[in-house]
């Protein structure tokens, strides 16, 4: 049988996926809009489930217990880190890496805000990578201009008590 000719790499076809045209109207959008509006008053609004008491922040229309959360409750602006990582090359047990892009890494943390039962992914500022740990207490840091965006609550700093 003749030797088959083949290319080394899979052929790629250029294309784009214009996600801004993707406009949703589902239920959680309306609920999260209410929470986003409250950001402008520096308030964190979560939604509590009448069936099991879990507080979803940002809110969610259906609970995992299949009840419908309906009680708006204020969630605290302090929370606890549940998990973390760093972008870029950094920190194998505290050792600075030569490899990878230069500059300070972004510290990405999962935060459980007090008074809620959910995790929110944020960046951690005003801290060095080696200072981060699971269980670390943090405080929300609002942006200078609060626009009522979901990422208004995407930045935390260490809680100084």
């Amino acid at each position: 049988m003749a030797e088959m000719e083949y290319k080394k790499e899979t052929r790629s076809v250029e294309g784009s996926w214009p996600m801004e045209h993707w406009s949703w109207k589902f239920e959680s959008i309306a609920l999260i809009s209410k929470t986003r509006e409250a950001f402008k008053e520096k308030k964190l609004l979560g939604l509590k489930c009448p069936g099991c008491g879990l507080v979803y922040f940002p809110p969610k229309p259906y609970c995992r217990c299949m009840s419908e959360p309906d009680e708006w409750v204020e969630v605290k602006q302090q929370g606890t880190i549940t998990t973390y990582t760093f972008t870029g090359a950094w920190a194998y047990e505290g050792i600075k890496e030569e490899e990878g892009p230069a500059g300070e890494p972004l510290i990405i943390v999962g935060v459980n805000f007090d008074g809620s039962d959910t995790l929110t992914v944020c960046t951690l500022g005003e801290a060095k990578p080696e200072e981060v740990f699971v269980g670390m207490r943090v405080q929300l840091k609002w942006p200078e201009n609060i626009e009522g965006r979901l990422d208004d609550i995407a930045h935390v700093v260490p809680l100084r008590e």
């Binding site: 998990t83 990582t85 990422d151």
Partner: protein, 410 residues
């Protein structure tokens, strides 16, 4: 409960490498299926039904079961496809098991595969999250910010690893050791992808850091490969061979997606390393199998671990020790091929990951260990019972199967 004992009576693998340019999807799967027929001593006419599975998003080729009848011996047979992410192969095996255990069919062919080089797996993973990401952008999340969280499966795994290391005391040296153990085992496995005989933890520690705490050497390769398995009744299996392996039980359990809830809502699955649903699936599988003390009764384990920390984490979540004990058990040598409870003797998913196939390959590898047919990778101790596991989705799905050399009812 009426229950028919289900035996594994044949196993077949294709060649597993990064890029199988010499075959198309149907031909790749044919290799595994024909090896399986040969291993079982059966022909397509002996098969009552076929279950197949992969993650079509990874190939970018939908409905791959189109070729089932023509290439896989599914001509004029019942055929169903199952897709559940990383657990696909486990779900396929479970479905085939239920088909026989229920008495609906006597002999069922289970097929699981992935030909990742035909598509783009990162794009495939993105399609899982694109609609959700679009909803987040709509509500004011900067796309660059979202991307910085870390993409694809590594993105999920780094959070899980950091959290596991905190909870268990596992160090990066343990991660290096896991990789070295698995890749050395893989070198003894003729069908494995990454064979690195003599690889040391020090070698792994020198590989490039991908995202804290995971290095290149802690991550699975992207593999093209297929696996096939024939399940049949206890009675039929005994006519075919002296020492079949029995699937005693299957259990699966789901949880909320971790890290991000849907469309910007919070998720209650706060710690991606908790894997409470894996513990539940394991508990149910052991109960169904009549296993009271898995630590004493399980002889070999094949946890689904594409990332190094997961071999230790799932060893704990499969209830094979107390939480936080796995790193010390690794240090003791117990997980080695000649250890008390060998783990990933096949080399594991960290050495070979044809995604759709991987969770079924955990089951076929435990079956081969029980049948004593694992060749050079056969563990030194006698194997009576083993546990096989699969993990998938945004850490939200776990499947567990318990296998034995003895059927349940005897």
């Amino acid at each position: 409960m009426a229950h028919i004992d289900v035996a594994v009576t044949g196993v077949g693998y294709s060649k597993h490498v990064s890029k199988r340019r010499d075959v198309n999807i149907a031909e790749l799967v044919w290799e595994a299926v024909s090896n399986c027929y040969e291993d079982a001593g059966l022909k397509p006419k002996d098969i009552d039904a076929v279950v197949t599975g992969n993650m079509p998003a990874f190939e970018g080729v939908n409905m791959p079961e189109l070729w089932g009848a023509g290439h896989w011996g599914a001509y004029h047979k019942p055929l169903i496809r199952i897709t559940t992410g990383g657990t696909t192969g486990g779900s396929v095996a479970h479905a085939a098991y239920y088909a026989v255990a229920s008495g609906l069919y006597d002999t069922v062919l289970a097929i699981a595969f992935e030909k990742q080089s035909d598509g783009n797996s990162t794009m495939g993973l993105n399609t899982v999250a694109l609609a959700d990401a679009a909803a987040q952008f709509q509500q004011g999340v900067d796309p660059g910010f979202l991307a910085s969280f870390g993409g694809g499966a590594v993105g999920i795994a780094v959070y899980q690893a950091a959290s596991y290391m905190k909870r268990s005391g596992c160090t990066t040296h343990h991660l290096d050791k896991v990789s070295a153990l698995c890749r050395n085992n893989a070198a003894l496995n003729p069908w494995s992808h990454l064979k690195q005989p003599g690889l040391t933890p020090e070698d792994v520690a020198k590989t490039v850091l991908m995202q804290y705490p995971i290095r290149f050497g802690h991550v699975c390769p992207a593999t093209d490969g297929a696996c096939a398995m024939i399940l049949t009744t206890h009675e039929k299996a005994l006519k075919l061979q002296n020492k079949p392996a029995y699937i005693l039980s299957c259990a699966s359990c789901s949880d909320e997606a971790a890290l991000m809830g849907i469309s910007g809502s919070g998720t209650t699955n706060m710690d991606p390393c908790a894997q409470e649903h894996c513990k539940l699936a394991a508990k149910w599988a052991y109960e169904l199998a009549g296993i009271k003390d898995p630590r004493r009764e399980i002889d070999v384990a094949e946890p689904y671990a594409p990332f190094a920390h997961q071999m230790l984490m799932f060893y704990e979540r499969l209830l094979l020790c107390e939480e936080g004990e796995a790193p010390a058990i690794l240090d003791s040598g117990s997980m080695n091929l000649d250890g008390e409870l060998p783990v990933c003797p096949s080399g594991g998913v960290i050495s070979t990951n044809a995604i759709g196939a991987s969770a079924m390959e955990r089951i076929t590898e435990v079956a081969l260990q029980i049948m004593g047919k694992a060749g050079e990778r056969q563990v030194k101790k006698e194997v009576h019972k083993g546990v096989a596991h699969g993990w998938g989705g945004a850490v939200n799905l776990n499947v567990v199967a318990v296998l034995s050399d003895t059927p349940r009812r005897s």
